[in-house]
Symmetry: C2
Amino acid sequence: MKEISKLMSYRESIRVVDATLRDGGLVNDFFFDDDFVKSLYLTNIKSGVDYMEFGYRGDKEMFDPEKFGKWKFCDDDDIRAIVGDNDSDLKIAIMADVGRCNYKQDIRPKSESPVDLIRVATYINQIPTAVDMIEHAKNNGYEVSCNIMAISSAQEGDVRAALDILGQTAVDVIYIVDSFGALYPEQLQRVAALYMEYGEKYNKKIGIHAHNNQQLAFANTIEAVGDGVDWLDATYSAMGRGAGNCAMELLLGFLKNPKYKVFPVIKFIDEHMNKLRESGVKWGYDLQYLMTGLLNQHPRTAIEFTKKDRKDYAEFYKEIVALD
Amino acid sequence: MKEISKLMSYRESIRVVDATLRDGGLVNDFFFDDDFVKSLYLTNIKSGVDYMEFGYRGDKEMFDPEKFGKWKFCDDDDIRAIVGDNDSDLKIAIMADVGRCNYKQDIRPKSESPVDLIRVATYINQIPTAVDMIEHAKNNGYEVSCNIMAISSAQEGDVRAALDILGQTAVDVIYIVDSFGALYPEQLQRVAALYMEYGEKYNKKIGIHAHNNQQLAFANTIEAVGDGVDWLDATYSAMGRGAGNCAMELLLGFLKNPKYKVFPVIKFIDEHMNKLRESGVKWGYDLQYLMTGLLNQHPRTAIEFTKKDRKDYAEFYKEIVALD
């Protein structure tokens, strides 16, 4: 049982990362208008959020800039157009995917960039490249985190090996990522204990990025808080790929540090997020995501089901059980 | 941390109670058609659900039978029209509210009724009447459970006193009820420990009935399972008052006893629940319920907000904070 004294208190070391533009961008191809982004930036400052992730630094040789909004690429100049000199306590983050980012060319020295934190995202079999990206970003002066994706389908031995390698790099934060929304809180607790073991050994912070396939993104995130995990990803209205993420409005309601304020988040949702939904952008918990989560499968079939506006849930279940 | 051996295994003593008609009836005034109810009954049998709650036994002097569907009253004959002699493993439950049920007249001997379980629902200040109802139902041959509602706003001393009184009655099961959807799993764990203490002392089973205001109904229910709570309420598509309940499809996906099957639940939702939503019946997680949950308030203001089709969440937050 968590200590009762800790339930009423808070840890100064908690960091909240707003991933709305980045994970949310996956459902609208990053077409957010500047008013939305600027307003989100100001809201994050007001509500005490620690980091705002603007999107990916995608490789323009690989992704056609005509086909995506600018936050797929996060040019420094585009970020600057929103944040100016970012004269605030909010730090700026971007994500760089292993294999989808031309990092040696596109990640320039921190002195030339408004970005504070580079978030390297990797599958477990790509760790050596992730290490190279981490060192490159570190050498260029950034804070660096690393997301090991899809761990619910990885072997514990492989996860240990990855943590041991990452522990020896200059990375600042290592993230638990439940890409499939497959983990229950009681499992998350064990995963967190494993990550914390390496975090303590190598003096790294641990983070959590959850998905809401089984309506557990928030529950898993606060389970992780109780287990000592300090870096917490959330998105406004839980906007994110498939079933979405941990909702910022739930997380800031839970956290007890007085610097976090939930009202600006509610105001932003009122003014912006519902409009986005009404414009036809789709995300969030639904039966098809529950099913892929339950079966510990990648949500790609459920995303396809959603895109096609299918409603034949029973038929879909038969299809994905057959894939299992 | 929960024992790892228990995560893969299951407890024979778990009981799943389908409360769709009863808690769901609160959002459509119990107007379910017979085809829906019959199909739900057959689905519960197929999916291994242990109890099906048909509705309330409301006092017809107090509630006008012209204004509500029949499951507000659950006449034995109406239940029999659906279940016949109920030649199945599924048991039949109804709820009787303290102060809203003419129990001495309307709860007749079990030998004349298809009902197996009477669920007495009470606020903490009504315990003496609840005790009288429990003894009446027991003397008439029923299994009996008792729901103490709205405990998130009760004093622990009062909850202890109530548990000590109920422990000395003939009641079979005592329920933890998070009426406001205000509890976090780490709090639920403490509440469960308290109820289990009295459950062990008086040889009573403990149950959980959760609400989804903060997307924690399922998380709190499985937290309770890990804490030894055996009786679990759930509803199809989480249908229930306000933000709804723990979703049956999530719960049966989690439980490992092979008798529980999730596919019939998905099929029922596919065929019936979405139609119900499309017909205009409204329930489920939304920002207004998050806010009342967060503030540990009764959801009545949020229900009103929903009924009026209001979308001005920020204004609503100001209103309810002023009520706090």
